[in-house]
Each structure stands twice: as C-alpha cells, then as structure tokens.
Amino acid sequence: MTDRKIDEATGVPTMGHEWDGIQELDNPMPRWWLWTFYATIIFAIGYCVAYPAIPLLHRATAGTLGWSSHGQLAEETAKAEAARASIRAALARVDIATLDAHSPLMQAAVEGGRAAFKINCAACHGAGAAGAKGYPNLNDDDWLWGGDRAAIHQTLVHGIRQPGDDATRMSQMPAFGRDGILKPEEIADVVSYVRFVSRQEHASASARRGAPLFAANCAACHGADAKGGRPFGAPNLTDAIWLYGGDRETLTATVTNARYGVMPAWDKTLDAATLNMLTAYIHSLGGGE
C-alpha cells in the first residue's frame, strides 16, 4: 500500500503506508536538525584539513595546523620539566648529607626519589626496597657500608665493585674453601661459631673449635666481636639480618666461596639531582642513620 495522499487534518502528505488504520505523516526533517547536520559536515571537512585525519601508507596527513599527539606530549613534557627546573636545580646543588630533614626541599627529594627508585633500583631491591637474597633490604637498620646520607650517597655514586672507579665500594672476602685456606671440617666449625654468636645455636664443641679459627681468619674484617666492619663492607654476624641467609647450608656456601655482590656506579647514568633524591628516599625508609 504505497498510496501517497494529503492528510486532510494537517495538509501534510502521508508516507503512503498504513498499519491497522494508522498512517504516517511525511513531515520534513526539522530545519534546525538539518542545519546542524550540514554544520557538522562542514566542520568535519574543516577538521580534516586542519588536523591529521586521513591515514596514508606510512603516516596520516599532517593537517595545516601542524598539531600531533606526539608534539603535544613533547610540549607538555617540556612544560612539566620547566616547572620542575628550579627545584631540580636546587636539588642538584644541595648537600644532601646536611639538608634539614623537615625542609620542603627534603620532602620534594623524598618524593622524587620514590619515583626514581621505581625506575632504577626496583629491579634488584624490589619496588618496596625490601630487597631479596643477595640484595639488601633498604628498610632495615643494618647497613654494610653505612646508613647515613653521606654513606648512602657515596654507595650510590660509586657503586659496589665497579672496575675503574677508585672510590667504589670493594669488599674482598677470601674464598676460604675454594682456595684451600680452610679445610671443610674447619669451615663447619666456623659456621657453628657464627651461628652461636648470632644466637641461632647453643654452644657446641664445634663452635668452640671455631672460635680461634674465626679470630685468626675472619676477625680482621668482621671484628673480634663479629659485629662487622663497615670500612670493609663486612656485615655484622651477630644480628638477626642475613643478606644471603643464616642457615648452616648457606653459611657454609658463603665461607667456602665468599660473596661478591655488585651494584652499578649510578653517576654514569643519573644526574646529581636524581642521586640526591635517591639518597633522601633510601634514607627515609626507616633505617636511615
């Protein structure tokens, strides 16, 4: 039924179809709707000319305004960098070791260090700086080389066991077993003694035999009381914290082969401000001295 006719009541043509006696008027589109539609088409043409719009083989058309999302990102990054420039300059100049812990600059340093830590340090020390076997926990109060800001900064800048850096941290524990300095049963006695001074084992005949062996071979670096020696990076063997593990098996492996941990010298990679910020952050984690 496509019988178009004029509706008597309104004078408007009908669509010419009918359902259950109901017919539809063929009213034109509202003018405002139509003009809005045309306006969007004109806007779209203008937009395609002004902005990158049409994808080509390698890249899209550039657009007459020269805008690009990469360009905008670069612009905003540059703006953010510029906004931070003055505080970064101040952080690069400051002596982080003596900076007042309550100052706003220190707070800025800690926050900046938090971000820098996630990028540069978290791979080994963990996102929360809790460390892992062989990688020290930076939250605790046990430090191999010292936990004040000056010592932390020194470790960060020069790293550990970095060839070609005169100021690098360098510990030189002999491989007592591998190099034949101690016999395996002597190593077992030394391990017994170390587990005794760290209150993990009761006094035993083995530990008693280990005491003079410790004094002769280990005390030079770890100290006669086994509380460690920071100049040599020798850990405190009497406390509750073990970098590699305090059980008999791990200690035997440590004495036999020694441990040679490494850390990059970060001054090759990071600028002075970031090194100061990292120092402040690590010091703020709860173990700083």
Partner: protein, 483 residues
Amino acid sequence: MNMPPSGLPSGPRKLYVGRTDIFPRAIDGFYRRLKWAVMVVTLAIYYATPWLRWDRGAYAPNQAVLVDLAHRRFYFFAIEIWPHEFYYVAGLLVMAGIGLFLVTSTVGRAWCGYACPQTVWTDLFLHIERAIDGDRNAQLRLKRAPWSVSKIGRRVLKHGIWLLVGLVTGGAWVFYFADAPTLAHDLLHTEAAFVAYATIAILTATTYIFGGFMREQVCLYMCPWPRIQGAMLDERSLIVTYKDWRGEPRSHGVKRSEDSGDCIDCQACVQVCPVGIDIRDGAQFACITCALCIDACDQMMEKVGRPRGLIDYATLEDCKAEAAGAPPVPVIRTLLRPRTLAYFGIWGAVGLLMVFALGARNRLDLATAHDRNPLWVRLSNGDVRNAYTVKIRNMESRPRTVRLTIDGVAQGRMWDSLSDDHKAGRAILLTVGPDRVDEHRIYVQAPAAGPAAEALAFALTATDGSPDRATDDDRFDRPETQP
C-alpha cells in the same frame, strides 16, 4: 482507503497555538504591597548576602556565605561544611521539599505567587516595562504603532535596562563563589577568571530571556511544580477563588437586573493577571496565586458599592459552605489540620536532627593505611617494624595538637618518622595544620614473637579539651615463619 471525514475545515489545521503577548495592568492593593515587600526582601537577600562578613580567624575566609569550589569548602556563617559532610545540604534539600509541601497544603502556591525567582524577576521586568512604555493600554498602543524615533528609543531603553538587570543578577551570583570584594575589583579590572565572566554572561542571558520574553511560559511549560499541585492541593488548601455563587450571572455595565450577580464583567481581574488567565473559569494550573486579581476586583467592588471578596483567598470546602449560606471561616483553621501538622512535624524533625547532628559532629578524623610493600621489616635486634601512613583531618580553622595512641600489640612502640624522639612509646603528640589533612608516616616496632597478624587500633584525641575523637582499626604483621 479512508475517506476524509466530512465537516473538517478545508485548510490545514494548526496543532499549536502561538503565545499572545500579555500586558498586565498596574494595580495597587494589599496583595500588591505584600508582593512589593517580598520582592524587596528576597532581592536584598540575594544581592547583599555575599557581602556579609564573618570572622573565622586567620586561617579561613571571612565571607559569611561562600561556596569555595577551589578548596571544596562551604561556609555558612558559623558552619563550615567539608565535601564529605554534603549530607547536610541533602538535609536542607529535604527540608526545602517538605517545606514546599507544607506551604502548598496550607496557603497554596504562595511560593509561585510571591517568592519564586521567576515571579520576582518577571515582576521586576514588568515594572521596568511600565515605567518606560506606560500602563497596559499605552503598551498596547505602542505595540500597534509604526516604528518611529520615539518607539525605537523606548525599545532600546527598555531592553537596555532589562539587560542591565540581567547583568547585575548574574554579577551577584558569582560573588557567592569567591571573596566578593576581591572578585568585584578583579571583575572591574578585567582580571577575574574566565569562568566568572562566562557565568555572568550566561545568567545575564537567562535573566533577560526568562524575565523579558518567556515570563509565564516558564511556569506553564518548563516548571514541574504547577503539575505537582494537583497532588499537593486539597479542598482545604487556600487558593485564589472566584466565588461564582455570588458573581453569577454576570451583568454587563448598566444592564443590571434583580437576579444579576455581583460580577460586572469589567475584565479588571483578567487585565491585571500576569499569566493572562481568567480566574472566573475556576481553579486552574496556570494560576500562580499572585492575588493581583483580588486587589483588582476589591477595588472595583468598592467603586460599585458591593462587598469585597468576590475574588478572594478561600478553600474549596469553605467556598461550598459559604455558597450554602454558612459564615466565612477564619484562615487559621486551614493552617491547623492533621495534614499540615504532619508536614510541619516532619519538617521540624529533620531540622532538629540536622541541628543536633551539626552540634555533635566530629571535627577530627583519622585514616590509617598499612604499608603493603614490605608488610614488615626485620630489624637487627630481631624485632619487627611495621609502617603506617596516617592521615589526620583537622576540620577546625586553627592548628591543633592531637594525641595519637595505639591499642593492641602489647610491647609495641610507635614513633613518627620525622620525629627525633625515636621509639617514643604508645602515645605521641602530633600537630596538624588548620582546616586540612596532614599525613604522617608512623612506625610501630614490636618483638618478633607473636601472631603473624595482630589487631592494632589507632585512636586520635584532641588535647584542647574538645570531645573530638577518631579511631581506625589496623593490624600489625610479622613474618609467618620464625627463624
């Protein structure tokens, strides 16, 4: 195939009726004066409020009423509301809603007729129009008159003043959102924020359009309230009523007979109506009960020497009773009845509840977050240390010293990471800035022997004698396996 029904007009039929201009005639009388008074009071409140000062000390703005969007605070005289206390505003809205029910069920659409901004500003625009163009008849003549220098001049003057009123209206609005004197200075020196100018421009336009052109159409087509009236009004609500039992049949001028009613069909009630209706058609949704027709009719009744009140405020019930010969009922009886008393009771209860809640509200808050990475740290002496981020919210506009205490973990000691008093104990004093949230990093240290997770509750109390107190339950974690 439907044949067109016979008897229809041959030309196309219009589905909509265009607006006919309304030129209400000026009138004086009791209700007109009441409207003047309400207009003066409401406009004075609207324009003056942002300029009232209220001393809150050095740490808070001194504007009595201020919606500080930038800092997310709302100040209302002695009351300061934080975003999380927005339920007070919700309570005010509940009160406004119930108050509207209360008013409607007693005195009908008094809000529409007197206090609604649309009514007040339309009224203002009408007065300006009359001051420039003259009263109803002069306005009608001017509309029909051909364009002349005088007509153009009047039109320019009228629209200019309307726009000026709109500008002042929008200009007053923005002062609620910033320090008024500062903003006024900035506005005049074109130093204010763009959003201030944009808001003023939008409100100028809406005031000009709503007050100058749309007028009663806002009430008829845009506002939902007239439609809700049907549910809110009952036969004992006061409405503006034409007493047809007295007025009918109408007489025209001198043609008056014995059985004629009091209505002389002078059209005065129609000419003064700002909505353009005839109240004699009976109660209708378009009537905003501005009561100007009462003034007009009373004036006319006095002139022709008949009793006033042919058109009057009355309830439908009383109208019926009066028509049957009963004496008029005092207005107080429409106010005191179960329905209105129930509304008043609910309205008052919500109000009292809010006043009570406002008086007893806590001006300190505490939120603790346990470090997740790492959950715990083993220290060289074998103890375990946990770290917490403690947020202290001080809602008073002054710095305060507060006491933070821990409950649980018997041998636990706590200290603030930035304090020099290491491992201070189970209670520490902290200072928190005025009207802000301060964050502290708190360490708690305890021996390693103990459950892997132990309940630890933080409590915050004021040291200045105020009863403010806040608590937060947290936990203390230890390594699962003991070495």
